[in-house]
């Protein structure tokens, strides 16, 4: 096939993937909506939370399953529909991922290089990284509860890329003619994907922790929240994901980036806006790791820092290119 055909195919696949992700998101939204209506008795939930907070480490799997057991007896019908919506959402995500992967691949073939030479390409690749990280771990760590957040983010990023950032496939400007493009951008994209997952988990952590506190005060918890792992387990998941992302980000922006900048721009660090915000991202996540290791900051404060870090990363990724001019702008944006 010719580059034009590849480009054409890519331009069909990416919007299709966007639509299917959006459908998957709706399915997951349905799952949450069904969950809201099935409120279990306070006593059942209370037991679960007491176990979780007293017993210290409760893994996501065991807390979740024991809770679901109880719930299934009380509100079986709703739960079944909820599970079905969840499964459909996951299946649609897989389908969308296939189209998405094909779209990124054909884009690379159309341009004859790695498909991350401009904002559009970086967006479709970074969102693919989010989808990959999610799909790899969804079975292993029972991450179905992240489905809504992940599909929302991926669909939004792809939609934004298609509508606002689209750049036709083409060769690179001379500054990008370097194998450091592959090293620097892939490490930034993968750690960005992990930051996103970590941010989403931290948001859900705050929601769940709040619900758990309410239950301890005698309130109730909706079934969709009960399906989430315990706040403590989510805290652990967020930590694991971010602990994986941080060294990779360090390598991407403090080793690979500067080495390349030294070759391309004649200095390894020049306070370019993208560099500044990468450092800010780094500092915020460093603060997250410190906060989590410090007694008084564990939990809510650490989760808040993780969310701040995610926003800083998003701003670095989108805002810096659109609002500030710097050396990291290629092909328009």
């Amino acid at each position: 096939m010719s580059p034009e055909t590849y480009a054409h195919v890519s331009n069909l696949l990416v919007p299709t993937a966007t639509v299917i992700y959006a459908l998957a998101m709706m399915s997951h939204a349905m799952e949450w909506a069904l969950g809201r209506s099935t409120v279990a008795t306070a006593a059942v939930v209370k037991d679960e939370v007491l176990v979780a907070s007293d017993g210290g480490p409760v893994t996501g799997g065991s807390a979740g399953s024991s809770a679901t057991d109880d719930v299934q007896q009380t509100v079986a019908g709703s739960t079944e529909r909820m599970e079905a919506a969840s499964r459909i959402g996951l299946m649609l995500t897989w389908l969308a991922f296939v189209f998405h992967f094909g779209g990124v691949l054909t884009r690379g073939l159309a341009a004859g290089r790695v498909p991350w030479g401009n904002m559009y390409e970086f967006s479709i690749t970074a969102s693919l990284a989010v989808a990959i990280v999610y799909l790899i771990f969804v079975q292993r760590y029972k991450l179905q509860w992240l489905g809504l957040g992940v599909t929302l983010v991926v669909a939004a990023v792809l939609g934004l890329a298609t509508l606002a950032l689209y750049t036709p496939a083409g060769p690179l400007v001379p500054a990008l003619h370097s194998y450091w493009l592959v090293i620097h951008v892939s490490s930034a994209a993968i750690s960005g994907g992990a930051f996103t997952i970590g941010g989403l988990v931290s948001v859900l952590y705050l929601v769940k922790a709040r619900a758990e506190r309410k239950v301890l005060a005698g309130g109730t918890m909706s079934a969709s929240l009960r399906r989430l792992p315990s706040a403590e387990a989510m805290d652990g998941t967020a930590y694991k994901v971010l602990a994986f992302a941080f060294p990779l980000w360090t390598f991407g922006v403090l080793v690979a980036g500067p080495i390349w900048a030294e070759y391309a721009w004649g200095r390894y660090w020049g306070w370019d806006p993208k560099e500044v915000w990468s450092l800010v991202t780094w500092v915020v996540y460093a603060a997250y790791l410190h906060a989590r290791a410090t007694a008084g900051w564990r939990g809510r404060r650490a989760a808040t820092i993780a969310i701040v870090g995610w926003f800083v990363f998003i701003f670095n990724f989108v805002g810096v290119n659109l609002l500030v001019s710097g050396m990291h702008s290629y092909a328009g944006v």
């Binding site: 750049t167 036709p168 083409g170 602990a243 941080f246 070759y263 020049g270 306070w271 500044v276 989590r292």
Partner: protein, 529 residues
């Protein structure tokens, strides 16, 4: 001890928590300040301040990056500008307050990790501690009974050794600990960061960076005076520190995308150089391209940019050549509409000056003449001229890119300001028999940077070691495990308990697996009950 374990990562304070408040006095006050500064909470606050403090530098123009934008900003914001200037917001990363944040952070860091090094070295020699009284309160706990004590503790020792624990035998119990590398990684990370920063500081003290614009065909010899712009480090001593190379730019090739939506995007730059590393060295050639700097005796030569230099001949009123040669024009947009000036101060009877645009691919539209493509498809020089009385030489340095029009008058023709367009080879005669200007042709110029940044290897090694340490501190899981055997109602009770000391929590099923290994029917350990 359990409480101690939980908070073991907080900075050591050297005493118990409930000390009396420090006595008023210099020493007490200093001690208190030091303790505050080196606490984790302060480190966190400083980290956030560093992040916040770095932000304005990305949003407000910086002198070190784009001085022209800074002066534009100062012009546009009459009130805000001077205030920003006072706050150092145009040079954030060298400002006193930003330096204060990172210096405090590093003092805090050193104050935190140096004592921890001592603590760690002692911990390395320490044996795993005795089991706590109530093992069943630990997060991981297994208990089962066996008929007789037998060799349970021996098996436990073997099993724990196999799992790479450090094992210590106690009376009726075995204590084990592993994951010592976590803290080692942690310390390595922090010390390596310090190392990396020393590397960066070294580079900014002893390094230099200079840029020079060289018209194709011309040469450059490395000395401070030859640079257009030279930024030495504080400890840079001068020309002796510059490698004595010289070079000539033989040719410069540039290719642009000619079709499609990315029309006009640069595709290839290549400057062909002839250079000598020292005045006596043989001449060599090099194709200087982006991403392929030329290394010269510790310094590196980079290709940073390019542009056009119209070659012009100016004749004055008496017919004498008052200026001849290429005048570099500076590109103003991505299509290389280039602005520049031509000065002929020696022209008589009046001095002459010109300013205007070189348009590599000129098109006349409603905005007037503009360039629509960066390559030289239809080169046109669009200029206006000035004349003035001859001025005495002041010796003051003047920008070659700006015309001081305070003592000049613009030429007029038929009551209008004089504007003219020239294609290569064309001439314009000036009014009042003041002379003429001829557009002979044009050359390209390249902007070269020569820089030397010592300490780069140190900084790189520091960061790489820091990542290594980071991985140790994040992925090594320190854990304590105890196995205790005691007799209860004539039966032997075996207890296995574990405690994670890192921030992950969650022992997985290791405690159970160890328990299984200790049960008498060891052949069935593979099966799960």
């Amino acid at each position: 001890m359990d409480q101690g374990v939980k908070d073991h990562i907080t900075a050591p304070t050297g005493g118990s928590g409930n000390e009396p408040p420090p006595a008023l006095g210099l020493v007490g006050w200093l001690r208190w300040t030091w303790r505050q500064l080196t606490s984790m909470r302060t480190a966190l606050v400083l980290l956030f301040l560093l992040a916040l403090g770095a932000v304005p530098g990305s949003l407000i123009p910086q002198t070190s990056i784009d001085p022209i934008k800074v002066s534009d900003f100062l012009e546009a914001h009459a009130k805000l500008g001077p205030l920003y200037d006072k706050l150092g917001l145009f040079d954030v990363y060298k400002s006193a307050w930003f330096s204060a944040i990172y210096l405090l952070l590093f003092i805090s860091l050193i104050g935190c990790v140096v004592p921890r090094l001592g603590v760690y070295l002692r911990a390395l020699r320490a044996r795993p501690p005795k089991p706590p009284r109530n093992l069943d309160r630990l997060p991981g706990y297994e208990r089962f009974t066996v008929d007789s004590e037998g060799d349970v503790l021996e098996v436990a020792t073997r099993e724990l050794n196999r799992r790479r624990f450090r094992v210590q035998a106690y009376d009726g119990a075995v204590a084990a600990e592993r994951g010592y590398l976590r803290e080692a990684g942690n310390l390595l990370f922090h010390f390596s960061l310090i190392l990396a920063l020393i590397g960066v500081a070294w580079g900014s003290l002893f390094g230099y960076r200079g840029t020079v614009l060289v018209v194709v065909g011309n040469g450059f010899a490395n000395s401070v005076a030859q640079y257009d712009d030279f930024t030495p480090g504080r400890a840079f001593s001068g020309d002796d520190d510059l490698p004595p190379f010289s070079l000539t730019v033989k040719d410069f090739e540039v290719k642009f995308q000619e079709d499609g939506p990315q029309r006009g995007a640069a595709r290839e730059f290549n400057a062909q150089l002839q250079y000598q590393e020292t005045p006596d060295a043989p001449e060599k050639s090099y194709d200087l391209r982006v991403n392929h700097p030329l290394k010269l005796d510790g310094s590196s030569l980079y290709l940073l940019g390019h542009g056009y230099a119209p070659r012009v001949t100016v004749r004055d009123g008496s017919g004498q050549v008052a200026f001849s040669g290429p005048a570099p024009f500076l590109p103003q947009d991505s299509n290389f509409s280039s602005f520049g000036v031509i000065k002929a101060p020696d022209a008589r009877p009046t001095t002459l000056g010109f300013e205007g645009f070189f348009l590599p691919t000129a098109v006349i539209d409603s905005r007037g003449p503009v360039s629509v493509f960066p390559d030289d498809l239809n080169p046109v020089l669009v200029m206006t001229g000035y004349y003035g009385r001859p001025q005495p030489e002041t010796g003051k340095p003047e920008s070659v890119y700006q015309l001081d029009k305070s003592k000049l008058t613009q030429f007029e023709q038929n009551g209008d300001k004089l504007r003219f367009q020239l294609t290569p080879g064309q001439s314009q005669t000036l009014p009042n028999k003041a002379g003429s200007i001829t557009f002979d042709g044009y050359s390209r110029w390249v902007k070269l940077q020569v820089s030397h940044t010592p300490g780069t290897d140190l900084a790189l090694a520091g960061i790489l070691l820091a990542i290594l340490g980071l991985m140790g501190s994040l992925f090594v899981h320190p854990r304590r495990t105890w196995v205790r055997v005691r007799t209860e109602d004539g039966r032997t009770v075996v207890e296995v308990a574990g405690l994670d000391r890192g921030p992950e929590r969650g022992l997985g099923d290791e405690i159970r697996a160890i328990g299984e290994a200790l049960k008498p029917d060891r052949s069935s350990t593979q099966e799960k009950s």
